[in-house]
Symmetry: C2
Subunit: 273 residues, 2 copies
């Protein structure tokens, strides 16, 4: 199945636009989890099991796993094993390198680990992205306009009549003949999302960085009106929603409820066009 | 010791500007090495041992190690252990992510692995780079103008009166008060290197992508005239210079001679200013 088809089916299965960011930080895990031999795997497994009827998929930020060295490699593999096959899995790696190196990364994250999608940085241009576009079952979310404070340093520089991020989109949009390339937009950039969504209603968007305020989410949802392939990532507000000394049941309830609440908030705000 | 001081001392110790890229590709290793339990570590160890009086340091491209999963983690750690402490070690990772994620990468590559320097991509701006600039003993080589064919897609877009890569340099040059940030320029961009080297003679440069022709090297060396902190990376021409069925002695001789030849070619072309 192509990634866009899998995305549509995952969104529809759980009637959900949320992707849960599994970014395990050892200092923030609940105390009870430390009794397990592989606390990170156990943490992720519990989250996946209690949200797999709520989320469209999961995003794993590689920085958190690389920090754990070999334990991190096990945790990624074991987590991917417990995620149901009909939900999407995104490797948040933001790689970008020359073609033979890019090919090694593609093999590692798509073939060995088996992720459905990966985030990439566009700075090095087309040949750094092409090795990831070889299979329609795999997908690239290219950084367009990110949510961090310094995103404007370069992404919002004017290049001719366009901003750099617009130039990135304009050049890259056809690299895969509209088959397996989409974009990352930070949730705070609602005007830019509105513009993109109006021009490219079918192109998948991955949106991290939703704020704590319902207002922000409302603005975001309004801006997404025309796009029907967006997913919204939430990490800390879901996976660290519990008290550190909670019981396993309290942990599961808290994670599940946070995920459910976000899913329902989003669904209540979806703008039909 | 600050990284710039370590760099000067490593260059002077072996009178060498070359950094050897340790990019182990299992399909290209010499046959004899496969008898070892850890062929990649053994491959790197033999290369380091026969070139540590020739090179200023070593650059490890993470893609090749990530592909090897846990064996790759061991290989990185074991390789860093055999590299003499007075030579420089560069983690070629081209990371770039929001600040807390960047902090995880910095901890992983600088503190756990212990690399001296890392390559980063500038697309996400200042706050994605700052977490790597906390210690003067560590160093960032930020991508400016890369050697790949598509480097011009975005890096050479005009942003006002400057190219994007020039804007990257102009904005980032003072992020560390000139203490621990330098740039990556592909060896083919000799005119741009000349311009940079003239403006910033002290700022460290990492230059990959030298071609097979002596002419290319001559042009590069001429362009570097004013910069006294450059290093030139060579990978495949040194570490895959042998016949696949060579003996261990032939392997060592071939690697050593290729490294020595390049070092001497470069030294013979260094332009005094």
């Amino acid at each position: 199945m192509s990634y866009p088809d899998k995305l549509v089916s995952a969104v529809s299965k759980n009637n959900s636009r949320i992707v849960i960011g599994l970014d395990p930080d050892l200092t923030k895990l609940p105390s009870f989890i430390l009794k397990y031999n592989s606390p990170v795997t156990e943490f992720n497994r519990l989250i996946v099991e209690c949200t797999s009827d709520i989320a469209a998929g999961y995003k794993l930020n590689m920085a958190f796993y690389e920090y754990l060295m070999k334990q991190g490699i096990d945790a990624v593999r074991e987590t991917l094993e417990v995620i149901p096959g009909n939900l999407i899995t995104i490797c948040d790696a933001k790689r970008g390198d020359i073609d033979n190196t890019a090919g090694m990364y593609a093999k590692t994250y798509f073939e060995i680990y088996g992720f459905d999608a990966i985030t990439l940085s566009p700075y090095m241009g087309q040949d750094s992205v092409m090795p990831f576009l070889g299979s329609e079952n795999k997908f690239v979310y290219l950084l367009a306009l990110t949510s961090n404070k310094s995103s404007g340093d370069f992404q919002m520089l004017k290049t001719g009549s366009h901003y750099l991020y617009e130039n990135v989109i304009e050049k890259s949009i056809s690299w895969s003949d509209y088959k397996n390339l989409g974009y990352v937009f930070g949730a705070n950039h609602t005007e830019e999302i509105r513009k993109f969504a109006g021009s490219y209603p079918e192109v998948p968007l991955l949106i991290p960085g939703i704020g704590a305020q319902a207002n922000d989410l409302k603005r975001l949802m309004n801006s997404l009106g025309s796009n029907n392939n967006f997913i919204i990532n939430s990490s800390r507000n879901i996976i660290y929603s519990f008290e550190k000394n909670c019981s396993e049941k309290e942990f599961v309830d808290s994670v599940r409820n946070s995920a459910k609440k976000l899913k329902e908030e989003i669904n209540s705000m979806i703008v039909s066009v």
